[in-house]
């Protein structure tokens, strides 16, 4: 029981990180109908910017963790958003009227470029960061087995839920969100009604990249090590989460992320740790086959 509760907490934390990345996938897929394959690598870039910023802040003597965390979050979100914007501007916008698979292929190219660029610029080795947020609560204790809920895990889950609420409100209540939903339904009609489609799509990418940056910061703090390759696997799992929750739905992405996180953690805990990725990937195939519109998504109507 204690073991189960501990795994539940770990799974939810991991799931929150996947959920944050998944929101970027789900928004982009919702609005332009393409898999932004480079999104996982945007997350990796965000984690690297956060790492450099943390070390810089610590080396100038700023050791008050909440302030440092706030600065790092803001800086990483801002600079990662520039990357997200640039990727869209360079690799996807010129292909908007091209055939369907073209943007997916440039996205794979962008993903390779980002991975190798960061590898060349920062080196291939694993980058560690000392633990900054330590300690936590003891939830329960029995027979010497302690269930811990660390401050880090609370921070990740709370921040994720708050961000998800903010972004859901942006999509459903603001004029930007209205423009996004309009572009999602019919891009030509939205343009005719005075929506600046290019700007809306750019802003979608910026929002997605900023959330990926938050996920990058959380990943860095939670695991304490990053390398240039973390974006690939995390990206596929987050995409799985987005599909599972229903493409286009933000709460769905969060829910999907939680489920994927739980599956992964419980699979490693009760079965074999080697096959945890297989479990997540099989989940992707099963969901797409049996539940193509996801848990909270709308069924897609095929137009002739």
């Amino acid at each position: 029981m204690e073991y189960f509760v501990q795994q539940l907490i770990n799974g939810l934390t991991l799931g929150a990180i996947y959920g944050l990345i998944a929101i970027g996938y789900t928004m982009v897929y919702g609005i332009i109908g393409m898999i932004n394959f480079a999104h996982g690598d945007i997350f990796m870039v965000g984690a690297f910017i956060a790492l450099i910023m943390f070390i810089a802040l610590l080396s100038i003597g700023l050791t008050f963790v909440p302030l440092a965390l706030l600065i790092v979050l803001l800086v990483s979100m801002a600079f990662t958003a520039v990357w997200g914007w640039t990727v869209e501007r360079v690799a996807y916008r010129p292909l908007r009227e091209s055939f369907r698979l073209a943007p997916l292929i440039t996205a794979i190219g962008m993903s390779i470029v980002l991975q190798n660029f960061v590898q060349i610029a920062q080196g291939a080795r694993v980058k560690p960061l000392q633990p900054l947020i330590t300690g936590g609560f003891t939830v329960m204790e029995k027979d010497g087995f302690v269930v811990n809920l660390s401050y880090m895990q609370i921070l990740i889950i709370v921040l994720t839920v708050v961000l998800m609420c903010i972004f859901t409100l942006i999509i459903s209540r603001t004029s930007l969100g209205r423009a996004q939903r309009a572009c999602e339904q019919d891009r030509v009609m939205a343009a005719l009604s005075g929506v600046n489609v290019d700007r809306t799509i750019s802003l979608t990418f910026i929002m997605g990249a900023a959330l990926a940056a938050v996920a990058g910061v959380m990943y860095l703090l939670y695991y304490g090590v990053i390398d240039f390759y973390i974006g690939f696997i995390a990206g596929i799992k987050a995409f799985t989460a987005a599909v599972l929750g229903g493409i286009g739905s933000l709460p769905g992405a969060m829910l999907g992320g939680m489920i994927i996180g739980l599956i992964e953690v419980f699979w490693s805990a009760y079965f074999t740790i080697e096959y945890k990725d297989v479990a997540a990937f099989s989940m992707l195939a099963l969901v797409l086959i049996f539940l193509p519109s996801g848990l909270l998504g709308r069924p897609e109507v095929e137009k002739v």
Partner: protein, 437 residues
Amino acid sequence: MAQSETSLSARLPSALKDAAIAAFISLALFAFIVGIRTVDDPGKLLLEPRPWLLAGFVGAVFFGRLFLNLFFWSGAHTSEALTSALAPVGQIFERISPWLTPALVVFAITLPFLPFTDRYILDVAIMVMTYIMLGWGLNVVVGLAGLLDLGYVAFYAVGAYSYALVATHFGLSFWVALPLAGLLAALWGIILGFPVLRLRGDYLAIVTLAFGEIIRIVLINWYSLTNGPDGISRIPRPTFFGLELTRRGEPSFHEFFGIPYSPLNRIIFLFYIILVLALITNFVTNRLRRLPLGRAWEALREDEIACRSLGINTRNTKLSAFAIGAMFGGFAGSFFATRQGFISPESFTFIESAIILAIVVLGGMGSQIGVVVASIVMIGGFELFRELEHYRMLMFGLAMVLIMIWRPRGLITSREPSVFLKEKKAVSGELVQEGKG
């Protein structure tokens, strides 16, 4: 050119402003990733600022953008200008393509006996031919049937491991194991394809990617069968009708034919094996395109809904494309295993799938000769930059993006019609609208 000379001074302010904006954005992009490097220090990381490198990056963006603005981009439609600038490349290909194919085949057959050929060139040629074969195999799936398969390397791996396992455990020879490996790969193509083929384009892509990863993870962890990350070594070499191409073979090739022993013999033999395998792939594909099955593939690529309303069984059509593509991948895989003599899961990563896909896409989807040109350019180019492992992957990714933007139809855009009345009319790539929407 004269026209732009006159307006050069008029365009200067706006060009400067544009370049400054680009430089500012690049400053934001590179400030952390390039401007500061993390250096490993025992126990922690140190930061090493690199202002000059950063300044170099930003300066390059500024002046590059300024230069392009002033001399090349005379208006808004920059990508169109570049497309038209690159169009002659495609036209040249179109003009020489009738002679290109026979010339390349003759060149390939005579290559081992040309005076400048040494072992290194032959090794590169074998590698290029392997990728040509993989490209042709994937072309059936992506180029003809229009199914984006990001996990093609899985079938390559199935072929390689099938041969390696039956050869090392049951002692089957390469020529017996080759059809077996192809069949097994095709079977896996059907097993994997059956549940996923009703998915739409990019969902299919991501599921095939996931399958590719699953196969790799299983290969790493199923230690008792695959020997895990250590791989399988001592895979037998192919024989020439039972003659071994080694110094002390029983019976050996050079003794039987009474020629002096040379280690090159084996390399030349391998080169001809892959050449024949690749040509068979090409021949079969070209014949299939004329059959109802092949025409159904191409119809499926153009419009799936129309296809279904015409009574084509889309599931079987897709499955057959998947299985045949997988089979060729399996053949190439067992050739890879016998050439290397050693295989491990390391050789079958996603990047391999991406390279094969890039060859198909950059060559022009559906174009057989395009695959050849793209393989020679890319794998040959890869060899040139052998020392710069990561830079070449970077260049490779950039090439994928840039060619997609400038020539979305690939290097060879013209389509030879598979079926025609009276005369062949090549369709220019610009007019081909398939796959749109």
